[in-house]
């Protein structure tokens, strides 16, 4: 479904991606792990075309991501941004239903609102939240609204950038389950970035570790614990000693 071939991206002298190769089959859930600042968010943005790679190819459904109709391409995606990226001029429900209120997927206001409230419920938020503004919510609540917005139009491909950071353990559990459900029930293809190893085990079919601008290791989640790769081992056990430097 998604394939990256030798993707490079640098910001000035800062070489973030140095030839990323990655393939994600349809209907699978991949988790990307890797140290802070290794370029995980940049990787997702490259696929969405928000960041233009310097080199390399990105295929979505077999077709190059940067060719063809941009609207049709983006309509297949849902994205949760790391910072939530809610529109602070709009109330929560209009954020969630943004796609349902305009453009190709436009529908009546009541219907859009009902869907928004339902999606909010799925991320553990009460209907009363619908009429608040993003600035009135806590960080974790904003994150969950962002999650609701990402899944509102039931996209085929969903990207989650750290869906559980800033959430309490119970809420994290709810969100992990939700992501799993979306993949299993809706047949969506998901790519999730997370630092939370519990989430990795709950969400992932496959795991990929980004380090030094390349995919250091990738494989089924069941093989993650047994891999001898010292980078993966250090990361999943959270050791200070190992090949990954602690000052980056």
């Amino acid at each position: 479904m998604i394939e990256l071939r030798d993707v490079h991206k640098a910001f000035g002298p800062n070489h973030v991606l140095n030839g990323v190769n990655l393939a994600l089959p349809k209907g699978e859930s991949m988790v990307i792990i890797g140290g802070s600042g290794t370029g995980k968010s940049v990787l997702l943005k490259c696929v969405l075309g928000l960041v233009t790679p310097d080199k390399g190819e990105i295929l979505v459904g077999g077709a190059p991501a940067d060719k063809g109709s941009r609207d049709a391409f983006l309509a297949r995606f849902g994205m949760l941004f790391q910072g939530g990226a809610l529109f602070d001029s709009l109330p929560v429900w209009q954020n969630v239903a943004f796609r349902l209120l305009r453009g190709a997927q436009k529908r009546p206001k009541d219907e859009a609102r009902a869907i928004a409230v339902e999606k909010l419920r799925r991320v553990g938020l009460k209907p009363a939240v619908a009429d608040l503004f993003p600035a009135e919510l806590s960080g974790g609540m904003q994150k969950r609204v962002g999650l609701a917005r990402a899944i509102a139009a039931e996209p085929e491909i969903i990207f989650f950038d750290e869906p559980t950071t800033g959430l309490d353990p119970i809420m994290s559990g709810v969100i992990n389950e939700l992501i799993r459900e979306i993949v299993v029930e809706m047949g969506a293809t998901a790519m999730t970035i997370t630092h939370d190893m519990t989430s990795v085990r709950a969400i992932a079919d496959r795991v990929a570790m980004l380090h030094g601008g390349v995919i250091r290791w990738t494989g089924p989640v069941s093989e993650m614990d047994a891999t001898p790769d010292p980078y993966v081992q250090q990361f999943i056990h959270g050791r200070a000693e190992g090949p990954i430097e602690s000052v980056r």
């Binding site: 969405l48 928000l50 849902g78 941004f81 602070d88 943004f98």
Partner: protein, 260 residues
């Protein structure tokens, strides 16, 4: 090397300046082109109209009121040197309509609107809201920029028209209370010597200035650097650039309109 160094610096700055002008021009054309291609966002347009037009009324009104009053005093003092005090009403009217209404209105709107547009769009940029718009299949140039360009271009001429009237009224109030003009004569002189083109040229200027204000706000907001500092710098640059461009455009338009 040391001899050519200043020229190298100068050359780089000129090139940088030209590149920036080119980028702003392309940005402006892209923004305008989105006004003619669906989907349209009427709600965004109306909100912008309200923000830019309606809420700028008090600022523009007060500015022109005081300026009209001061203008009457100055022209009276100047006119008295060659016993031409009677020109006060017509000069106040012509000065307000042709020059001070649009320029002061434009500058006040630049201070109020270019800054708020740049800060708003800049904040959206650094908090990834612009990226989020794109992923939600909404073109930011169409959703954020085009409505503001149109709203400012339409709203500022109206503000200028109202500002002209208030400024002339300021002159009138000073004229009849402080300078012993007969109210009826003052109004008659104002009406008789003010020509249609005096007012119309000012309104055209207003439209141009409104466009400049929205363009600068949007452009520097969309190109804001990361972080709070980035947004702060974008806001400052937007206001300064809009103000300078307004004054420059004012000169050019005055040449075009009035040098026969």
């Amino acid at each position: 090397m040391t001899l050519t160094y200043p020229f190298a610096v100068l050359g780089r700055q000129v090139l940088g300046f030209l590149a920036a002008v080119g980028r702003i021009a392309i940005f402006a054309l892209t923004g305008i082109s989105h006004l003619f291609r669906p989907p349209f966002y009427p709600k965004e347009f109306l909100t912008a109209l309200l923000q830019i037009g309606y809420f700028s009324l008090p600022v523009v009104g007060l500015t022109t009121l005081f300026t009209g009053g001061a203008l009457a005093l100055q022209i009276y003092a100047g006119g008295a040197r060659f016993s031409a005090e009677s020109v006060v009403p017509s000069i106040v009217a012509i000065g307000m309509a042709r020059e001070l209404g649009p320029v002061l209105g434009g500058l006040m709107v630049a201070a109020r609107v270019a800054s708020s547009i740049a800060a708003e769009i800049g904040t959206m940029k650094v908090t990834e809201q612009i990226d989020a718009l794109t992923t939600l299949s909404t073109e930011p140039m169409k959703y954020l920029v085009a409505p503001r360009l149109l709203a400012a271009t339409l709203a500022v001429p109206v503000l200028v028209g109202i500002g002209d009237s208030i400024g002339i009224m300021g002159g009138y109030l000073v004229g009849i209370t402080r300078l012993d003009f007969n109210p009826a004569t003052y109004l008659k002189n104002t009406r008789e010597f003010l020509e249609f083109w005096d007012v119309a040229s000012g309104l055209w200027k207003g439209a141009a200035f409104g466009f400049i204000v929205a363009l600068c706000g949007c452009y520097f907001g969309m190109n804001s650097a990361r972080g709070a500092q980035g947004v702060g710098r974008a806001t400052k640059t937007a206001v300064v650039t809009a103000s300078v461009l307004i004054l420059a455009a004012n000169y050019v338009l005055t040449e075009v309109f009035f040098s026969a």
